[in-house]
C-alpha cells in the first residue's frame, strides 16, 4: 500500500483493515442544495464517505466541488469525483486547491463519459490530461507540493487518491495490467464499475491478487441495485462497458413487476455477501442511483453496519 497518511477517514478505515463502505450522490440539475442535503442525511450513518459525481453521463449539474462542500458542512466525508473531460490542467489543479481549502481529503480521478451521451452533445471536450495523468497530478501536488508547472504550492492538498477500474471493459486481457498502470500512476484506492457478472469479477480479482496488486491499493467493489427488469436490460444493452449476465435479467423479468425492486435489492445483497469472501477486496462502493434510501437496508443486511469509528 502507499504509505501516505492523509486526514481521510476512508483511508484510516481501510488501513485499519475494515471493509470500507462508500456510496455516491449525484448533485441536482439546479442550485437548490436541498437534494444533496436530503440524500446525505439518508445515508450518512451507513457509509464512510460519499462520492459526489462530476456531471455524470455528461449531463450538466451542480458542480461536484460545491456539493462536496455541502456534505462537509453536514459532517459527511466527501469523495470529490473529478473528470478530465471538462477542464484543462489549470482548472483541475485550481479546483483541487479549492477542495483542499475546505479540507476535502478524497478524490476520484476519472476521464468522464463522452459528452455525446449528455445534454450538451455539441460541446467541446478538453482531455488535456487523461485519468492516469490526473492521478499523477494530484500525487505530485500532494507528495511534492508542486504544481505541474513546477512551482511550489503553499499548503499542498492532503488527498487520498482514487481511481476507477472496469473489470468488464475490453480488451479483457489488459484489465489487470491497466489496474497496475493506475497504481503505478499513484492510485491508492479503486472503486470498480458496477458488478453483476460475479464470476468474471472473481476471475479478475484472482489475477489482481496473483500479481499482488491488492497489496498496493484498496479495491472497493462497485454495486448498483437494479430497480426493474427494464433497468437491467437497459444496462445490459445500452451502457458501454457494462456486463449484465442474462440470468440476472431473467431473474428480474420472472419476478412480478411490483416485486422487481425488492428482488433487485436482494440480488445486490446476495452479491455483496458473496464478494465479502473474495480475497483482496477492501470494501464496497454502493451506487444506488437516485435510490439512496435503499443504502441503509443494503448495508444493514450485509453486516456492514455499524460503521467502524476511527
Amino acid at each position: 500500500m502507499s504509505n501516505s497518511t492523509t486526514p481521510s477517514k476512508l483511508q484510516k478505515i481501510l488501513a485499519a483493515g475494515h471493509l470500507g463502505v462508500t456510496s455516491e450522490c449525484g448533485p441536482p440539475r439546479g442550485s437548490d442544495p436541498q437534494a444533496v442535503i436530503e440524500k446525505a442525511e439518508l445515508i450518512k450513518d451507513y457509509v464512510d464517505a460519499v462520492n459526489i459525481t462530476d456531471n455524470q453521463t455528461s449531463v450538466c449539474r451542480m458542480c461536484s466541488l460545491a456539493a462536496c462542500i455541502r456534505l462537509k458542512t453536514l459532517g459527511v466525508e466527501p469523495v470529490l469525483q473529478m473528470v478530465t473531460r471538462d477542464r484543462n490542467r489549470i482548472a483541475l489543479q485550481s479546483d483541487i486547491l479549492g477542495a483542499a481549502s475546505w479540507d476535502i481529503n478524497n478524490i476520484l480521478c476519472l476521464s468522464g463519459d463522452h459528452q455525446s451521451f449528455g445534454d450538451h452533445a455539441a460541446g467541446q471536450n478538453v482531455h488535456d490530461l487523461d485519468s492516469m495523468q490526473l492521478i499523477q497530478t494530484v500525487r505530485m501536488m500532494r507528495d511534492q507540493g508542486k504544481f505541474l508547472g513546477g512551482d511550489d504550492i503553499k499548503r499542498p492538498p492532503q488527498m487520498f487518491v482514487g481511481a476507477a477500474a472496469n473489470p468488464f471493459a475490453d480488451p479483457y486481457e489488459i484489465r489487470v495490467a491497466r489496474l497496475a498502470k493506475k497504481i503505478a500512476a499513484g492510485a491508492e484506492f479503486i472503486q470498480t464499475q458496477c458488478i453483476y457478472n460475479l464470476d468474471k469479477f472473481e476471475d479478475w480479482m484472482k489475477k489482481v491478487v496473483d500479481r499482488g496488486l491488492h497489496e498496493k491499493t484498496y479495491i472497493m467493489a462497485g454495486m448498483t441495485p437494479m430497480k426493474s427488469a427494464g433497468m437491467a436490460r437497459y444496462m445490459k444493452n445500452r451502457v458501454p462497458g457494462m456486463d449484465v449476465p442474462e440470468d440476472v435479467v431473467k431473474r428480474l423479468a420472472d419476478t412480478p413487476k411490483d416485486k422487481q425492486a425488492d428482488e433487485g435489492i436482494k440480488i445486490c445483497i446476495e452479491a455483496i455477501q458473496r464478494l465479502k469472501e473474495v480475497k483482496g477486496l477492501s470494501g464496497f462502493h454502493i451506487m444506488a442511483i437516485e435510490w439512496e434510501e435503499k443504502v441503509p437496508e443494503i448495508v444493514k443486511a450485509t453486516g456492514l453496519y455499524p460503521r467502524p469509528q476511527v
Binding site: 476521464s111 487523461d130 485519468s131 495523468q133 499523477q136 497530478t137 476507477a164 472496469n166 475490453d170 462497458g241
Partner: protein, 222 residues
C-alpha cells in the same frame, strides 16, 4: 491528406446569391481525392448553382475553374484573369485554400466545403481521420496508431472503461483506438510497453500554442 465535404447547396446559395459574377474555384489535390472539391466537382457545383439561379429567377453569371493547389502562390498564375473577372469566389478548397485566397485577393471569398479532417483513403468513398497534427508525434509509443486522433477522449493511457468488443463507447461503428493499439502491441510482442505510463503531454505544439509556423532557413535564400 485533407478531407473535406461539400456544404449543403442551400447554404452555398445563401452565400453567393447576391453577387453578379461568381466563380466556383476548385482545388485539384487533397479535396479532389475525396471527390468533394476538385476541379471536376467545382464544375458540377457550378452547374447546380446555375440551375438554382434559373429556378429562383435570379440573374447570376456563374463560371467555374480551378488550379492544382490553392495553398501555394505559383499555381494561381494560370487563373489570374478569370479570378479578376469574378466579383465573388466560391472556393472548394479546404479552409487553408480559402484563407490563402482571401489573403491574396481583395474580394469576397466563400467556402464551398466544410474542411473535415486529416485522413486516409481507406477505400474509394471511405475516408478516416488518422492525425490531428498535434505537433508532437507519439506514434512510436503507441504501436503506430494515434490515440490523439482516433480515441474520442484522446486518452493516452487507455483504453477507457467504455471500450466494448473493440468498439468505442460513442458509436459501435468506431474502432476503439486502444483496442487497436493493444492488438498491435500483442502482434509485435511488445505488450510490456502497455504498462509504461505516457507522460503528461505538452500541448504547446498543438493549437494550444497558437497558430503554428515552420521556417526552413536553409530554403529561404534559394
Amino acid at each position: 491528406m485533407i478531407v473535406g465535404q461539400q456544404k449543403p447547396l442551400e447554404e452555398i446559395w445563401g452565400m453567393i446569391k447576391d453577387y453578379k459574377k461568381v466563380l466556383v474555384f476548385g482545388c485539384n489535390t487533397c479535396v479532389a481525392v475525396c471527390h468533394q472539391g476538385g476541379n471536376k466537382e467545382a464544375e458540377i457545383l457550378a452547374s447546380m448553382l446555375k440551375m438554382k439561379a434559373s429556378q429562383e429567377g435570379i440573374a447570376i453569371e456563374i463560371t467555374n475553374s480551378g488550379i492544382e493547389r490553392q495553398c501555394e502562390h505559383e499555381f494561381f498564375e494560370q487563373a489570374e484573369t478569370i479570378i479578376q473577372k469574378a466579383d465573388a469566389i466560391l472556393s472548394t478548397a479546404c479552409g487553408i485554400g480559402v484563407q490563402f485566397m482571401a489573403e491574396k485577393y481583395p474580394k469576397p471569398i466563400y467556402p464551398g466545403l466544410n474542411t473535415t479532417f486529416l485522413g486516409a483513403v481507406e477505400q474509394l468513398g471511405v475516408y478516416t481521420e488518422r492525425c490531428q497534427a498535434c505537433g508532437q508525434c507519439i506514434l512510436g509509443q503507441t504501436a503506430g496508431i494515434c490515440p490523439i486522433a482516433r480515441c474520442a477522449k484522446r486518452v493516452m493511457n487507455g483504453p477507457c472503461g467504455g471500450s466494448t468488443k473493440g468498439k468505442c463507447e460513442i458509436n459501435k461503428e468506431v474502432d476503439c483506438a486502444w483496442q487497436l493499439i493493444v492488438d498491435r502491441l500483442a502482434l509485435l510482442g511488445r505488450m510490456d510497453d502497455y504498462e509504461k505510463l505516457a507522460p503528461i503531454k505538452d500541448w504547446s505544439s498543438d493549437r494550444a500554442g497558437g497558430p503554428r509556423k515552420l521556417v526552413r532557413e536553409d530554403m529561404l535564400n534559394e
